[in-house]
């Protein structure tokens, strides 16, 4: 028999505890948000004045007032697309294979453990790997392609893990239903499983790519330059990206460059927020269209 405890002094104590816990939680959130707001306000105040059209259409310059983010912005956009083109097919493909086709044996288990571990490797290590493999061994030089291959390696573990999680949430009954109707395994994956898993796969992909946009260290190692006077026109062009440009500006003694850095950070933040918004939009759109 269950005895319901209802002694008033106990309840009062539990109630107080809960109140204290709520207060601590609220304070922590407040602290985190205040820090963020202070940082963002400072960045906005410092950088907003520099956000004129010339800032977006100019190349870097020794004169802070004439310097702009054009090659960095274009470099980031190219790098992002190229990384996506490499990492998405490979990553989603690997996830589909591991989740839908591969037999569970020692081999897939080794692969799985490695993928999980790779997600935790510091990004600069990927930079060193990229420098040795892509830049030196495969003679890609310090090019956009070498950068994108390195960043694809960085994004792969995240994409694979997210895509597998997405595939795992698809109910078994849907697969059985499809197979029972005579569809092959590939048809089941293509027309039943993938569309359902798409929202979470896309979210994972875009979050992984957001990380790529914000990375500095591995690209510096692979050889992103800090001054460039031409936009990349091929896969083997030299390139620079927004975080590298910002990093370079923050290390200059003149205050005008700090304002440039702040303006650069605003541009990068806008880019990241756009990507995250896109992730949310795509997820919602797909979820609505699915008749489950």
């Amino acid at each position: 028999m269950i005895q319901v405890v209802s002694r008033p002094e106990w309840r009062a104590r539990e109630y107080r505890r809960e109140q204290i816990f709520q207060l601590v939680g609220a304070l922590i959130v407040l602290f985190a948000l205040t820090t963020l707001v202070v940082l963002l306000t400072k960045i906005l105040l410092d950088g907003f004045a520099r956000l004129n059209p010339e800032f977006f259409t100019s190349f870097p310059s020794r004169r802070a007032s004439q310097a702009g983010v054009l090659p960095a912005l274009v470099g980031s956009a190219y790098l992002l697309l190229l990384t996506a083109a490499i990492a998405i097919p490979v990553g989603v493909g690997a996830a589909i294979y591991l989740e839908e086709f591969a037999k569970r044996n020692w081999f897939t288990r080794v692969v799985e453990i490695n993928i999980t571990n790779l997600a935790g490797v510091p990004s600069v290590i990927y930079g060193l790997l990229g420098l040795q493999v892509f830049v030196r061994t495969l003679h890609m030089e310090r090019s956009l392609l070498a950068g994108a291959c390195t960043m694809a390696l960085l994004a792969l573990p995240v994409i694979i893990t997210a895509a597998r999680e997405g595939l795992r949430t698809v109910p078994k009954s849907l697969r059985y239903g499809s197979l029972a109707l005579g569809a092959t395994q590939w048809q089941t994956v293509r027309y039943t499983v993938l569309p359902v898993a798409m929202p979470s796969i896309l979210t994972g992909v875009i979050l992984a790519l957001s990380r790529v946009v914000g990375e500095t260290a591995p690209l510096l190692v692979v050889g992103a330059v800090v001054y460039i006077s031409k936009l990349p026109d091929s896969l083997f062009s030299s390139f620079t990206v927004l975080p590298v440009q910002i990093y370079n500006w923050t290390t200059r003694p003149q205050h005008a460059f700090q304002e440039n850095a702040a303006a650069g950070i605003i541009v990068l933040l806008a880019l990241l927020l756009t990507m995250n918004a896109l992730a949310i939009y795509l997820r919602n759109r797909y979820q609505k269209r699915l008749p489950i």
């Binding site: 977006f56 259409t57 100019s58 190349f59 870097p60 310059s61 020794r62 054009l70 090659p71 912005l73 274009v74 956009a77 190219y78 992002l80 697309l81 030089e141 310090r142 510096l220 050889g223 992103a224 330059v225 800090v226 001054y227 460039i228 006077s229 031409k230 936009l231 030299s238 370079n248 923050t250 290390t251 200059r252 003694p253 003149q254 205050h255 700090q258 896109l278 795509l282 759109r285 797909y286």
Partner: protein
């Protein structure tokens, strides 16, 4: 699937917009220099201290030769030499002369180089503005503060000089990967990279500026340009090298009295790359304009005489380091160093 294509389309559209934005700028460049027919690509890398000069040189060079693509990276002095020795870049910037092992690596890979000093950089020793007791420091006192033996022992200003108040000594200095660190330790302690470890080290000089500005008992060192841009927050210390206290300035750096904390900055150019007309032209351009551009970005230009002496070295392809590939050295006047080289070369002929 439709929205996915939409996304790709959106991205392509974005790129088209970016590239379209880029065109007016390059057109402007073409118009300003129609005569140049040089083309090709020049890759520069190396020291972050030299970077502002390389960037300024690249920017101005490009205005005259719009068909030449110049890229500048920042791998640090050591990282730059590694790439240079591998033949991956044409020119590397260095905030100290090349070291023996780096020179050996170049020789091993068959890479010959010409050493080109392009500017002076002075290091400033600074304290907090509230510090009323310390206006000058001797090199010996600085050594006492910074040598490895001082670690954990010299922690109070009263230990630095009798008469200094009982105030905690808080130290700020360059990160161990920088040429600034190499040079400071060589100049003050007497051995490259020999330093105490219990101080706030950062590659980001702004952190050092903030640190010194906030601690009454602080002492720090970094490039003079950082002092000049933060004069209201810092107090400059004059350095006594045995000939009376001297504050760093353009004059004291050039006449050689601000010693030992004034150092030359260099470009090292690959001799094979120098055979390419665009690289040769760039070096010529650098020697003609480095002085003025260096001043513009916060350094001290060399005396005209040095640029002339170095031009001769470049024309006659005199390779190797005038410093004998021994890394940082102090108290060297460049005009004497390269003159001696010239003389011995002439004697040898």
């Amino acid at each position: 699937m439709k929205s996915r294509y939409g996304w790709i389309g959106l991205s392509c559209a974005a790129i088209l917009v970016f590239t379209a934005c880029g065109k007016p700028a390059s057109k402007g460049n073409e118009a300003s220099a129609a005569a140049s027919t040089l083309s090709g690509k020049i890759t520069i890398d190396g020291s972050s201290t030299v970077l502002p000069i390389s960037e300024a040189l690249a920017e101005e060079f490009q205005k005259q030769h719009p068909q030449v693509e110049v890229t500048v990276g920042r791998s640090g002095t050591g990282g730059g030499f590694k790439k240079f020795a591998n033949g991956e870049i044409d020119i590397t910037g260095a905030s100290r002369p090349i070291r023996e092992e780096e020179d050996a690596q170049c020789k091993k890979n068959g890479i010959e180089y010409i050493e080109i000093p392009i500017a002076y950089d002075a290091m400033a020793v600074v304290v907090n503005p509230q510090n009323t007791w310390c206006d000058t420091l001797t090199v010996a006192e600085l050594k006492k503060i910074w040598e490895p033996a001082a670690q954990g022992k010299i922690t109070n200003w009263s230990q630095v000089r009798p008469g200094f108040p009982n105030e905690r000594l808080v130290l700020f200095g360059a990160g161990t990967d920088s040429g600034t660190f190499d040079y400071f330790t060589a100049a003050i302690v007497g051995k490259e990279k020999a330093s105490r470890g219990d101080y706030t080290a950062s590659e980001d000089d702004d952190i050092l500026v903030q640190g010194v500005a906030r601690n009454k008992g602080a002492l720090g060192y970094f490039g003079l340009a950082y002092y000049e841009n933060n004069q209201d927050k810092l107090k400059l210390v004059a350095i006594d090298n045995g000939n009376g206290p001297v504050k760093p300035s353009r004059e004291t750096v050039l006449d050689g009295t601000y010693q030992p904390l004034a150092r030359p900055l260099f470009l090292y150019v690959n001799v094979k790359a120098l055979e390419r007309p665009e690289v040769a032209e760039f070096i010529k351009f650098a020697l003609a304009h480095a002085g003025k551009l260096a001043e513009e970005v916060g350094y001290v230009g060399l005396p005209e005489q040095v640029y002339e002496l170095v031009s001769h070295r470049v024309e006659r392809r005199i390779t190797g380091s005038a410093f004998g590939a021994h890394g940082s050295q102090t108290g060297v006047k460049l005009e004497d160093l390269y003159k001696i080289e010239e003389a011995s070369e002439k004697g040898a002929e």
